[in-house]
Amino acid sequence: MITKRLAVAVALAATILAVAAALRYAEGAGTVSAEGARRIMQVLVGLSLAAYANFMPKQIGRARRSPEAESRTQAALRVGGWSMTLAGLAYAGLWALAPLRVADVASMIVVAAALAVTLGYAIWSFTACRSAADAQVGR
């Protein structure tokens, strides 16, 4: 399983490097403008983020001891997966369609917001789970 994930990650990295090299070549040959090359690269980065985040809720790992912890972990993974996938798609969309100055700033904001939602929800879930466990012990 880990080997498969590693292979996918290496293949993705190789694809990004190959596309970057091809774009560099095309730019030198005058086939693609500098702006076009930059946009294509960023769209690829956004789509990679979306593809990776898509599988985030599937990484459920081993079973937790309490049903409370299990459901909260699942919810956190789902929220993280959805927010990062949508952010990746928005990132790609912005770089494909928006003016460069807008895409530059907005794409960063979108990903930062998704990251904040993911981490915020995970921390909130963890805290709520700990509180519930403490309350149970105190009873």
Binding site: N54, F55, M56, P57, K58, I60, R78
Partner: protein, 106 residues
């Protein structure tokens, strides 16, 4: 991907996934929500497991199911639920159990 579509095409299996959204459940707990026989439910669980939409953990004689949906599969589930794909299609819901029964008798 065809396994995922096959799994999501039947309302009973979609309901199972909806129930697992709340929390992990045992096979018995899930079966209580459906007016179908246990072999039929087992067949539905097998289809969901094969499509990698659920994770089954065995503790003694109890099997606990956990949801294992990617974002795309989650969206497909919501989409098929919203548009009622397969609703009123009673035949396919019993199809897996029938296949198993046939397999045992032949």
């Amino acid at each position: 991907m065809s396994k995922v579509f096959k799994a999501l095409a039947v309302p009973t299996r979609r309901k199972v996934l909806q129930l697992l959204r709340r929390r992990p459940m045992t096979a018995g707990e899930l079966s209580e929500h459906f007016p179908v026989s246990k072999p039929t439910m087992s067949a539905h669980f097998a289809v969901l497991r094969e499509a990698d939409l659920v994770d089954a953990g065995k503790q003694g004689t109890t099997i606990t199911y956990r949801l294992k949906l990617s974002v795309l599969e989650d969206a497909l589930l919501g989409f098929s639920q919203a548009f009622g794909i397969g609703v009123g299609d009673a035949g396919p819901a019993d199809e897996p159990a029938l296949e198993i029964t046939k397999g045992r008798t032949s």
